[in-house]
């Protein structure tokens, strides 16, 4: 009876079913103190990660990184350096998400900022920082809830639920804030 019930319909045997659509588990490979360069299909570098610890997923397309730095390469040669507590780097989506006291710095733009988290989307050339954003560029220093810009940091939008505060004319440098 069971056999006939199982035989009716067009169900495949359980062993032939495709795997459920869920995140691929990590390889279980942990790399200590590594340097990883991710390139696109043309061999152009997307980012270079220097990390204390890196966990790779099955295809190695996605890396979860603890305590490190990543140098992100923009289309027009601009580079953005992020230091972070944690980072997810996804080569398929070309997206980086950093958290845990993130500092972003661009020497070319003469700008830096800190935030609780920073997301870099290389497909859309968009950088979004959120939470306790604080930083400066060549024109001044600022504090906000959220920062949106591109890899060049040429145009920056700052927003806050209450108020963005800034000082124009006296740029603040990271080393000055340490005291």
């Amino acid at each position: 009876m069971l056999a006939s019930a199982a035989g009716c319909g067009k169900r495949r045997p359980p062993e032939e079913q495709p795997p459920p659509a869920r995140e691929r588990p990590a390889l279980g490979v942990t790399i200590q103190r590594s340097e990883t360069v991710q390139e696109d299909e043309r061999g152009r570098p997307l980012w270079r990660i220097l990390a204390e610890r890196t966990d790779l997923d099955q295809s190695a397309a996605r890396a979860t990184v603890r305590s490190g730095e990543v140098e992100v390469f923009g289309e027009r040669g601009r580079r953005l350096m992020l230091s972070f507590g944690g980072l997810t780097a996804n080569a398929e989506t070309r997206r980086l998400h950093a958290w845990g006291g993130v500092t972003a710095k661009s020497d070319e733009a003469g700008a830096w900022f800190r935030a609780d988290s920073v997301t870099v989307d290389l497909k859309t050339d968009r950088v979004v920082a959120a939470g306790n954003v604080r930083g400066s560029n060549a024109a001044g220093s600022f504090q906000a809830d959220r920062l949106e810009t591109d890899m060049n940091l040429d145009r920056i939008r700052l927003t806050a639920k209450e108020r963005v505060t800034a000082v124009i004319g006296l740029p603040e440098r990271p080393q000055e804030s340490k005291r």
Partner: protein, 195 residues
């Protein structure tokens, strides 16, 4: 005895005793200001700021801009701070500030008297240290020489911030322009030391 002066002129410039040194319509910006009033560093607030190489655009939540020395404060619906990236000094870095919509400015004259101005728009020019107000301008200026703060109403008022310490210079334009001030009575000869 106190004397109240209500002055109305169809057109241009009025004098308010010794306190407001208002000259005729030909008044020019002081060529050599004894006290520089360039704004230097500017503290700004707003709900949204759009920053580029040349300007900071402030909008939302009634943006404000204030000089670091507190001598100049502006609040408006929208403020644009223009930068001079070729400036030789930090004092010249902010080249111009445009304020639009329900503008409210508080400033101090070189001798420390408070000035309040409301208007539809205002433009600060760093090059000649002027503030130009346009649209329903109301200037309120306090002075120890006046019984109460003097009030000017006009379509356009230019405030020369770089004027010397003994003079505050305004250029008032528009029809009609109105200036109202009540000078304090001079102490009577032989009278005891009064206030």
């Amino acid at each position: 005895m106190n004397t109240a002066k209500d002055v109305r002129l169809g057109g241009s410039i009025l004098a308010l005793g010794a306190m407001l040194a208002l000259a005729a319509g030909t008044v020019a910006a002081p060529e050599s200001g004894k006290s520089s009033r360039t704004v230097g560093a500017v503290r700004v607030t707003a709900r949204t700021m759009d920053i580029s190489d040349r300007q900071w655009v402030l909008s939302g939540g009634r943006p404000t801009a204030q000089t670091s020395d507190g001598a100049f404060f502006v609040e408006a619906d929208r403020i644009v701070v223009h930068l001079n990236r070729q400036a030789g000094s930090r004092a010249d870095f902010v080249s111009r500030i445009d304020a639009a919509g329900n503008v409210n400015v508080r400033s101090l004259t070189p001798d420390g008297q408070p000035v309040r101005v409301t208007s539809r728009s205002a433009v600060y020019s760093g090059k000649d240290s002027t503030l130009v107000f346009e649209g329903d301008v109301v200037v309120t200026l306090a002075s120890p020489d006046l019984e109460e703060p003097g009030v000017m109403r006009a379509a356009r008022v230019t405030y020369y911030m770089k004027a010397g310490p003994d003079e505050t210079r305004f250029r008032v334009e528009g029809q009609p322009a109105e200036v109202r001030a009540t000078p304090k009575a001079r102490a009577q000869e032989g009278a005891g030391p009064g206030k």
